[in-house]
């Protein structure tokens, strides 16, 4: 029987000719990732188990992004633990304040991850790199510690759901609307333990930033990973960035899928996930009476250059509604710099927004935009669980950058329409 794209990568990394769904394997990993929240526990476990050497200093990435610049003394201690570990083991891909970005925007941008890789990261949104044609999945700190020590990880080979895309998105929709639509359709455990494989002629019409966003939220459907085939856009993106040679894997023609969903991108509408589950989706235009207090545009889901451009197109020359706080967070220093050079930052400030240096901050209720009881935020982030952005009686609505920016101007959830 044929293998899915994910299974092809896992078989190669496990040194096997063939794997099948449900099989337990031990696979070589190309990159092991951690951040300032998950790495300290991994470091403690690494030493406690008696390890003293990492398997390869060039295959480990440690990114300080959740609570930096340090939000408090304890966060500073955690950053220090990461910094000291990275320094004592000469970790090549260590990103501190000034060089850092939100990990899942940063690693592709810097070419640390590439097509054909097997990547584990102690962060659930590690599934983002599937956009490059890699197998990439979130794990915990102990897996990170084991990965750093041995260069391997155990996996149960996943079965797959296929999403066959056709057509081209309307002007007011992006990858975010596609993935929110899918999560609304299959629910938060619709792809539990499985791969989400995106195929079809519609793939070529999705930008790399759309693909990153779609794979990023695969975990919100419970998936082990999301993955796109490698095409001309992928190759162009990787060229000049990739620090290692990309390897292209393709699903076998007779690969087995649990089911196939056909999605016509041209029929997509701006989608919003209502509290308190990403699967509680509605069309944005059904929510026009929902008043908001805050807007967050950023995160590993939507802090990339196209997201900043979308926010700029909506906000330039306009004024953010009275009583609304609008927080814009470019995901990496390169994106931040480009926003400055392109005049986006000036336009954001003139509109009444604030622009932060890269951080996960408000997305997970860490800092830099915490909500009080009764407050409501529309955010381009990825989760809207109870208390996710602050008080347990606050609410988060998830949306695309276009919808979030359009809402910032009216003070109510607003579908973006061209003037």
């Amino acid at each position: 029987m044929g293998m899915t794209m994910t299974q092809k990568i896992l078989a190669a990394k496990a040194g096997l000719d063939c794997v099948s769904a449900g099989q337990l394997i031990n696979a070589k990993v190309d990159i092991v990732l951690g951040n300032d929240i998950t790495t300290p526990i991994a470091v403690n476990e690494f030493y406690r188990a008696g390890f003293d050497k990492v398997f390869d200093k060039d295959r480990i990435a440690i990114v300080l992004d959740h609570f930096v610049p340090n939000k408090d003394i304890k966060a500073a201690e955690q950053s220090k633990t990461c910094r000291e570990f990275a320094c004592s083991h000469c970790i090549s891909h260590f990103y501190d304040v000034g060089k850092m970005g939100i990990e899942h925007a940063l690693l592709p941008e810097q070419g640390v991850v590439t097509a054909g890789d097997c990547i584990i990261g102690a962060d659930s949104h590690t599934c983002t790199y599937g956009a490059l044609g890699a197998f990439s999945t979130g794990v915990g700190s102990t897996d990170m510690a084991a990965g750093m020590a041995t260069g391997t990880a155990w996996f149960k080979v996943p079965s797959a759901i296929r999403f066959s895309l056709k057509g081209k998105l309307p002007y007011n929709c992006s990858g975010k609307d596609v993935i929110l639509y899918i999560i609304g359709m299959i629910s938060v455990d619709g792809a539990l333990y499985k791969s989400m494989e995106f195929v079809g002629e519609g793939v070529k019409n999705l930008s790399m930033d759309d693909r990153f966003c779609i794979c990023n939220m695969a975990v919100e459907a419970g998936a082990k990973n999301g993955i796109f085939p490698v095409d001309e856009k992928t190759v162009k993106y990787l060229k000049g960035r990739s620090k290692r040679t990309p390897v292209v894997y393709e699903a076998d023609e007779d690969a087995e899928y649990e089911c196939t969903y056909n999605i016509d991108l041209s029929q997509m509408k701006p989608i919003v996930s209502c509290p308190h589950l990403p699967a509680n989706t509605k069309n944005a235009d059904e929510l026009s009476n929902v008043k908001i207090d805050q807007v967050v545009i950023g995160s590993c889901t939507n802090g990339r250059m196209e997201d900043m451009k979308a926010a700029y197109e909506v906000l330039k020359g306009k004024t953010i509604a009275n009583g609304v706080r609008c927080i814009i967070i470019p995901a990496t220093m390169q994106i931040y710099r480009q926003c400055v050079e392109n005049g986006y930052v000036t336009a954001f400030i003139d509109a009444g927004a604030v622009v932060s240096t890269p951080t996960c901050g408000p997305c997970l209720g860490g800092y830099m935009g915490i909500l009080a009881a009764g407050e409501r935020c529309i955010a381009t982030t990825n989760r809207n669980f109870v208390g996710r952005m602050g008080h347990t009686e606050s609410e988060v609505y998830l949306a695309s950058p276009l919808t979030a920016a359009a809402s910032a101007l009216t003070g109510y959830i607003t579908q973006y329409k061209e003037a």
Binding site: I37, T38, K74, S141, D143, F385
Partner: protein, 165 residues
């Protein structure tokens, strides 16, 4: 190995943000983190839970963030095991990797209620409700995973494997 205790019951899709809110993730210290276990879904959990007690929940328990802090605080609070209809996959592997016993059993979840006295045999997967006398069999764990749990976690099992080579 087994556990015997009182049941704390929760619904579907209990996420890691309510198990351990991110505002407390500025420390890796398990004892300090455990003071906030389940805080945003059940603020009385920490004051009520006793060693050996059991969390019983619906589908997709532990969804969301990959934070290992979630199974860690549940274990550190003394919880004997978690029984759910299903687990989010990262929570599942994190629990195994740190040695927190977890079991999937739909029927038991449907028929066991808050405050019931329940015992669980970790070797056989037998779940017994001492109030009703009814027993249930959880999905057996694969030998590979049993081996990790037997060693008390992934790193200890890797260490032993390395030493025996």
């Amino acid at each position: 190995m087994n556990t015997l205790g009182k049941v704390f019951k929760y619904p579907d899709n209990v996420d890691t943000d309510v198990i351990i809110p991110a505002r407390y993730l500025n420390t890796p210290n398990a004892a300090e983190l455990a003071l906030h276990c389940m805080e945003d879904i059940d603020k009385d959990f920490v004051s009520k839970v006793k060693t050996g007690d059991i969390i019983v929940a619906g589908r997709n328990f532990g969804c969301g963030s990959s934070r290992e802090h979630a199974p860690l605080v549940i274990k550190t609070c003394g919880t004997g095991c978690v029984i759910a209809k299903s687990f989010a996959r990262i929570f599942y592997r994190n629990a195994i990797n740190i040695g927190l016993p977890i079991f999937e059993c739909e029927e038991a979840v449907d028929e066991i209620f808050a405050n019931d006295e329940v015992s669980v045999d970790f070797d056989t997967g037998e779940i017994k409700n001492l109030i009703t006398g009814k027993t249930y069999m959880a999905q057996p764990l694969p030998p590979f995973i049993k081996n990790i749990i037997k060693h008390g976690g992934l790193l200890a099992s890797l260490k032993e494997a390395a030493q025996s080579e």
